[in-house]
Structures are given as C-alpha cells and as structure tokens.
Amino acid sequence: MNTLIDVKDLVLDYPKGPRFGPMSFSIAEKEAFGLVGESGAGKSTVALALMNVLKFKGGRKLKGKIERHCSAKEIAYVPQDPAAALDPLFTVGSQIRELGCSEVAILEALEKVKLPLTGMSLKSYPHELSGGMLQRLLIAMALVRRPKLLIADEPTSSLDVIHQAEIMKLFHAVRAEGISVLFITHHLPLAMDLCSRMAVLYEGKIVETGIPREIYEAPRHEFTRRLLEAVPVLEVA
C-alpha cells in the first residue's frame, strides 16, 4: 500500500510552552489511522502541522520531516465544534458554494452524508441546524473536493450517542470509498471501531503504535492502560 503521509521525527518546539515529539508515524492510502490521547496531549497540533497551517515565528520551531504524497488541497478537515467552524451570518448554502464546486458535486456530497438539504433548506443559517446536522454538513464540505485524506479532529465529542453512532457510520462509509482518515479522539472505543492502525499520544510523544486488537489485548504503556480502564463499562448488576 502506498504511503500518503509520512511523519519522521517531528518535533514542535514552543519557546515557553510544551514540546511535542519526537514522533514518527505514517498514514497509508485507504486506511483509517487513529490518534488517541488526552486533552493537551498535542493531538490537534499534529493535525495542524500535517495541514501545514502552523505558523512558525517568535521562536516556535518545527524539526523533522513531514512527507506528503498528496497535495495540500487533497487534505480535508472536519473540526471538533461544527458550530464554531461556520460563519453564523451566512447561510449554509452560500458557505458550501464558497468552496467553488459545481452544484452537482455539492448535492452529491450532501446525499452521501444523508443530509436532506435542498433548495429552501440551503438558505438556512447555521443556528437553525442541530449539532448532528452541522457535523454532517461539515463532512459533506470536506468531501466535496474529493480529498485523499480526511482529518477528523474529535468529530463526535460535541454530539450525543445516537448522533455519534450516525457520524461514525459516515466515517466507515468514507473509508470504504477509499479515502484515508486520520481520526483524532480521546474516546478509545471509537478509534478501535474505525481504525486499522492507531497511535497513542501522551504528553506530546507517541507512546504506542499498533493495530487496535494488539493495543486492547496487550497495552505496553502505562497511559494506554489508564485510557483503557477509563472507558465507561456497562454495569448490569
């Protein structure tokens, strides 16, 4: 399988802040890769570095190498909080059209995410849609440019379980279509459900990489064990 993104010894240095890395991992074509860690572990920073939008000034440094075997335009991004990612003053329709795609492609993408938005409803404003619908919309907006890699940064953490299940179904479909997914989350069950390989991030370092089954059955790092224990289990008795 061809490698899409290859990260080698990536180090992010902040003059007065945390230091991330060194970390190395690669994402292959058509695979779902999970990046799991607590808040503050540096998950989102890695995503930003991959998209090449981190600014380096005031002593911030990036060392190591990120090899992209696709253009930056072929990387799409689904953020954590869909409501904050859209402009509240513009209709959702105008924000989709801003992406510069044909109407056909837009409708196709909307259909893919099972969002019944046509004509009138494209004229609605972001606040008129529910959180689940907004997240679908953002996934559609990410898919409309036919990306090779979809970076999803905690896409379900602001949703309830039912909508979470629906969104996860979408990600499975995206993966089945042959689009790579970088799935960033703090929720192990989701990553293990979707991903073929995953890395565990702790205090800016990758402490474990492997396939979900190995990590579940034989976690090597103390932090992974703690994460596994923290997953809420159904208590029947």
Binding site: I162, A165, M168, L188, P189, D193, P232, L234
Partner: protein
C-alpha cells in the same frame, strides 16, 4: 399523596416561544414520581428536554402548565423559607464547570457560599474536610476558577454542592465536558458519594454506560415525553420502546469486537 416521594410531577409542560409565535414544548406532559432513596438516570438524546426537566425539578424555572410537588408541597406555592429548606436538601451540579463557577471569585469564596451558618474555624474545617473528600489539594483555595483544569473545576462544583449536606443531588451531564480519564475519576467520586445521599439522585446523561454505573432506575426521554421508565436490567436487556433499544445499541461496543 404518598410521603415516600421526593418529587411528584402531574401533567407538567414547559413551553418556550418559537418561530412564528408558536410554542416549543421542551417538556411535554410528564407524569412522574421520584421516590426517596433511589438513584435515577434520565437518558435521552440532545434536545430531548433532559436539561429543562432538571431545571424544573431544581426550581430554577416554573412549569408553564401542571404542578410539581416536592415532598408533597406544590413548588408553585413556595414561600421563601420553603426555597431555603429545598436548597438544603436538593443540590444541583451543572454540565459546564466553566460556566457554573463565578470567574471573579476564588475557590475559597465559592465554597464559603455553601457553608450556611458556619463561621470561623468551624467553617475552615468544614471546607478542608470537603476538599479532601473530592480529592482537591488545599492550595487551590486562593486560586480563581480559570487556574484550574476542567476536572478540578467540576470537583469544586461538587464540593460546593456537598457543603450543603444535601440529601438529593441533581447531576446534569456532569462529565460531558471532560475527557475520558477525568470522567472516570469524577464517576468514581460520585460512586463513593452515593451512600451519603440518603435521598437519592437524578443523573442526567446521554451515555447509557455512565448511567448504568450510578443509577438503579432509568427514565428514557424523547421530545419532552417519557418514553419508558424501568429498572436498569429491564431497560438494558428488555426495553420495550424502539427508541430505548436504539439508544442502548448506539454506544460503541466495549470491549471491542475484532
């Protein structure tokens, strides 16, 4: 009226104004009785009216129609002293610890507000005991909420509620803003507290697994209506309503199936 009920709801409606002068019923005709000493879970998707229900019970908002009785007394007819009595018995812990603590007060001031009738050394001692119980270090007292992490803030909110020595706790999604390991810590804390809550609790959540760790009786809510109410086992294994089944199966499988 049976005396063993904490709350009794009779045809309770709560409507909010909506587009075009219409009304949106967040709580839509609920008949319910919550008994003393039982841990209840209120589960449902977002927008189902869970939080509004919690607010109605805590007396923060009145119902537009119907009556809520607390220990047999209509909440609508409350005098000021009834309200005070209620606050001593029932405390609420909110979803967002970033909003529920006053940013201009330090932790000591926030906690002192909950120590009604205690002064001087007694009050200091009381706060120290409660801090230990929620596993917070003493040196957080002079800090302001912004200097604490989300989990620590939620512990402060829990400590503030516990200082009143409540009998009944209303927990409105107390862990949904926290990450998983902090969530596990808070859940452990709540489970340790459960025996001290003689009156029971109402745990509002959308996560069935979390609810199962704390509650004995499940109330399933959708579109402001009670869909189903039953013991934990009944809801988890033999739910009648299709919506309940959907809710139970929506949580990702754990342990995972490979």
């Amino acid at each position: 009226m049976s005396s063993d009920s904490v709350f009794q709801l009779k045809q309770v409606f709560k409507a909010y104004p909506s587009k075009g002068g219409k009304k949106f019923h967040a709580v839509d005709g609920v008949d319910l009785e919550l008994k003393w000493g039982v841990a209840y879970a209120l589960v449902g998707e977002s927008g189902s009216g869970k939080t509004t229900f919690g607010r109605l019970l805590s007396g923060m908002i009145p119902p537009t129609e119907g009556e809520i009785f607390f220990e047999g007394k209509k909440m609508r007819d409350w005098m000021r002293r009834d309200r005070r009595k209620f606050c001593k018995k029932v405390q609420v812990i909110f979803q967002n610890p970033y909003l529920s603590l006053d940013p201009k007060w330090n932790i000591r001031e926030i906690l002192e507000e909950g120590t009604l009738g205690a002064w001087g050394r007694g009050r200091k001692r009381k706060i120290e005991v409660i801090l230990e119980r929620v596993c917070l270090p003493k040196d957080c007292l002079p800090k302001k909420p912004h200097a604490l992490s989300g989990g620590e803030r939620q512990r402060v909110a829990i400590a503030r509620a516990l200082l009143m020595e409540p009998e009944f706790l209303i927990l409105d999604e107390p862990t949904s803003q926290l990450d998983v390991s902090t969530q596990a810590d808070i859940m452990n804390l709540l489970r340790d507290l459960r025996p001290t809550l003689t009156g029971g609790l109402l745990f509002i959540t959308h996560d069935i697994a979390l609810a199962s760790q704390l509650a004995e009786v499940f109330i399933v809510m959708r579109h402001g209506k009670i869909v189903e109410k039953g013991l934990k086992k009944e809801i988890l294994f033999s739910a009648q309503a299709p919506y309940t089944q959907q809710l139970v199966s929506a949580s990702p499988a754990w342990p995972p199936v490979f």
